[in-house]
């Protein structure tokens, strides 16, 4: 897929749109994406936006892939360069043989041209100024005009676009018409002035059945509603903010009493992340399903309370939508840099169950699982998503729901049960799985106990006794072993023939890894691939490590954090686990993975 395009390719190209943020390009880009999707063609969108509100460069990348590859392609076949300030950079980024479309209202310098790129100019601003009134409308419509031009250049079905514009803008009178008018202007201009369609173009397929276009924060927020979560506490932080926005708006629809408008949920915007996790722990302790969405800096701030939750055995669900660290880092770029932190957060001996969704569908599913696990295990559980999953629009399997689902509220004693037992011992291992029984406040006087982050006996009394402390810590360790049996298993993709090479990866690397495996296979390099979905690891992980001579661990951080977890928690010679790391903040592409694997294999086994 590198090098020059075959002249006649269908449904296989990457389009990149360069804009200025705050100018309304998002809806135009969405319109484009959705058009491909509605034509039944697999498509993936990646948004590269600045940590700022208005006036800085922003890019949107759309990959159309017949094969259904959703990773970043790593190339640009058609650049729509609407931002004069980044024009040079944008032009440089076009792959050889590619095209660039720009707004020719203001001519570009000829110094900025390339022999191997076809540059198409269309006077979008001028066209808009002629057709529309008002500055705001003109700015907005300019984006829609380029959608029209692209429709002609790429052979997008106009009926699909029209229907979409109707669906999106239909409710606001005049808006649908204006948009359609703008689309037509672009389409007409392109048809009249360019050789349409381009050698790469789209054609309707039927490959998106059962799919939706959603981002992972929306699905996770929806998952929280479906899981029956009633208390959400948070402090806004990119890229997690839209998770709570989604939860809140779904709740407004599904959880407000139709008559009284009374709410069956409570969202608290906390004063900071320390307070947010405190609220979640308080609510969970009192018996609600409660959660907080945040990102790296938030987890750092929550560290003390996370250890408290671990030690006092209070459920909590924490979504960490990872962005690039350390510190404030690149708040609008993606990374998997909090793996180690989530697994071992807080001082002292602590460890926490972590779920690793790979796409928005799994974000939905794991949101639900997280509550079941947190309550079953009575401990804070992390869902480690990332900016790529959380904020980009993914074509993905539609989340589904089984009405037979019953939430696992874990071991909670009812009033009747409390009435029956002689003495409630909050921290006793009654069942041998190291998970104690808990009681909720307000239920029964016999359930009363005192929760504390200091040393506590089985009966929840204060203790500084060395033996009692050691027993408690040992039980918590055994509880973590129980956790390993409950966490979702990894997904194993076997090569068609026995493979000596193993790949282990995680989360949003999945699409790039799958694509890379296909390409490597085409080169004759076969691999088995295990996608980790949870920590602690279950036995499949150890088996996979045992089974393969050579193993590449692929992840999106500098310090090989997944590898650290693997060598620390499994029984393996770490020298056999070689890292392939990607950590520049952009979503992973298959190309560099293929190159890295090829290169490593060429060099021979690890030292």
């Amino acid at each position: 897929m590198s090098g020059r395009k075959t002249p006649e390719s269908v449904n296989d190209f990457t389009l990149k749109l360069a804009n200025v943020n705050g100018t309304g390009s998002a809806s135009a880009n969405g319109l484009l994406m959705k058009s491909f999707f509605r034509m039944g063609i697999p498509v993936a969108g990646k948004n590269y936006f600045p940590s700022n509100i208005q006036g800085l460069p922003t890019w949107y990348e759309i990959r159309v892939s017949r094969e259904g590859y959703r990773a970043r392609s790593g190339q640009v076949d058609l650049m729509v360069a609407m931002n004069a300030q980044t024009y040079a950079q944008d032009l440089a980024e076009v792959s050889p043989g590619g095209y660039l479309l720009y707004d020719s209202t203001w001519p570009r310098s000829h110094a900025l041209s390339r022999d191997d790129v076809t540059v198409l100019g269309a006077p979008f601003a001028q066209l808009c100024n002629e057709a529309f009134d008002g500055v705001r409308t003109r700015i907005l419509m300019k984006n829609i005009v380029y959608v029209g031009a692209l429709a002609a250049l790429l052979d997008i079905d106009m009926a699909v676009i029209e229907q979409l514009a109707q669906d999106i803008f239909g409710k606001r009178p005049g808006l649908a018409e204006a948009n359609m008018k703008a689309i037509r202007i672009g389409w007409d201009y392109a048809t009249a002035n360019f050789d349409c369609p381009l050698p790469f173009r789209v054609e309707a397929m039927a490959a998106t059945g059962g799919m939706v276009m959603m981002d992972g924060n929306t699905t996770a927020g929806l998952g929280c509603v479906y899981a029956g979560a009633t208390v959400g506490a948070w402090y806004p932080i990119t890229p997690s903010t839209s998770l709570m926005d989604a939860y809140r708006s779904f709740c407004a629809r599904f959880r407000a009493d139709p008559e009284t408008r009374e709410r069956r949920y409570c969202v608290v915007q906390a004063e900071d992340e320390l307070a947010a996790i405190g609220m979640v722990l308080g609510a969970s302790w009192a018996g609600a399903r409660a959660f907080t969405p945040t990102s790296g800096p938030g987890i750092s701030l929550m560290a003390e309370f996370i250890g408290y939750g671990y030690f006092t055995e209070i459920p909590a669900v924490i979504f960490d939508v990872q962005r690039v660290g350390p510190s404030t880092g690149l708040p609008t770029r993606t990374q998997q840099g909090d793996i180690l932190l989530a697994a071992y957060a807080s001082h002292g001996d602590t460890r926490h169950p972590v779920l690793f969704p790979a796409d928005p569908t799994e974000s939905f599913e794991m949101a639900v699982q997280a509550f079941d696990l947190a309550e079953r295990l009575q401990t804070p559980v992390f869902v480690l998503s990332d900016l790529d999953i959380g904020m980009n629009d993914w074509m993905c399997r539609a989340p589904s729901w089984d009405d037979a689902y019953v939430p696992d509220r874990g071991k909670v004693l009812t009033a009747a049960e409390l009435e029956r037992i002689e003495k409630f011992r909050r921290y006793a291992d009654i069942d041998g799985d190291a998970i104690p029984w808990r009681s909720l406040p307000g239920v029964h006087p016999k359930g009363a106990y005192f929760t504390r982050g200091s040393g506590h006996s089985e009966a929840a009394g204060y203790t500084e006794d060395a033996g009692e402390y050691e027993r408690l810590m040992d039980r918590l360790k055994r509880k973590f072993a129980t956790a390993a049996t409950l966490m979702p298993a990894p997904v194993l993709h076997r090569a068609d023939k026995k493979a000596a090479l193993g790949i282990v990866s995680i989360g949003s690397c999945d699409d790039a890894v799958m694509e890379a495996r296909d390409r490597l296979k085409a080169e004759g390099i076969r691999s088995d691939y295990l996608r980790i979905r949870a920590f602690p690891f279950n036995d499949d992980v150890q088996a996979f490590l045992d089974e393969h001579e050579r193993i590449f661990i692929i992840e999106q951080n500098r310090d090989a954090q997944l590898r650290t977890l693997l060598i620390n928690e499994c029984s393996v010679d770490g020298r056999r686990l070689e890292s392939i790391l990607h950590y520049d903040g952009l979503p992973m592409a298959a190309g560099p993975l293929v190159a890295a694997v090829r290169e490593r294999l060429r060099k021979g086994a690890a030292a």
Partner: protein, 351 residues
Amino acid sequence: MTYITKPKVEHAGLRRNALGLSRRDYEGALSTLCAGCGHDSITAAIVQACWELGLPPHRMVKLSGIGCSSKTPAYFVSQAHGINTVHGRMPSVATGAAAANRQLRYLGVSGDGDSLSIGLGQFCHAMRRNVRMLYIIENNGVYGLTKGQFSASADIGSKAKKGEINMQPPIDPVLTALAAGATFVARSFSGDKAQLVPLIKAGLSHEGFALIDVLSPCVTFNDHEDSTKSYAFSRQFYHPAVHTDFVPPAEEIRAGYEQGDVMEVELHDGSQIALRKVEGAYDPTNRDAAFVRIHERIQAGEWLTGLLYVETGREDMHGLNKTVAEPLAALPFDVLCPGAATLEKTLARYR
């Protein structure tokens, strides 16, 4: 002094309250605080107030942070769930618990270190949200548990056991509460049970955030003459501004109660607090006047005590959120989960 001489906090008589419970039923574990610690007196007042109010013990929730003061919830109402959180972060845990179950009575105990240093932000924000709870600061001007460093409420010029002298102006919880918009602000003294018990009852009945700042001398680290939080000082200089007498809803309105200089304020739950102005025409419903009056007394080196400010019109966190009356924690799953058919419909937008 578990192992030496400390008796259980209060050996109440066998008088029964409306629920048929004796004071004993509101006691807790043996205190491990220093003999004579002011905090123990407050514990006794809490026991008395809860008993008098006739609260079902298991419908209460006790919360605290970390410190000597924060240990005390273990020493009262042992049939209530209790939670010792982390240092300075009790308000958030209380907010979450109250969010999950609005039908329980929340009683938080904190220290001046816990609330005014590490916990100042959470303390103010819980007041701003008007979380329904009674929040007691056991204020001794020092960090008792870490051996006597100054807290943010230490007065200028007070001298630590190690000889150091505090030079920074104090943060006053009462003034802070007034600035943060708290709806019930009181001050008292650990040694004045007569004033404290009705204040605690009123605070527990307030349908919003009720703060009682209780001056509570630390006998070990802050009971020298120089300290304005010592026994000696407190006894001499505190000014009861308003006398609070609480009439619990379970009882009839007390007959023969002097109507003379009594001002009645109706609380949200319908119960009433009667305020006896011990001086002038103190009006506890005027935030500005309260601020000025308290500040002026502080400048004069004195504490104004009593119910200093109360506002009954403001909605609590759930009122603002329009939460259903049932506890969220108790809602059945089927009213919470929209189900498969709705999901299908919802996803249409994303196709």
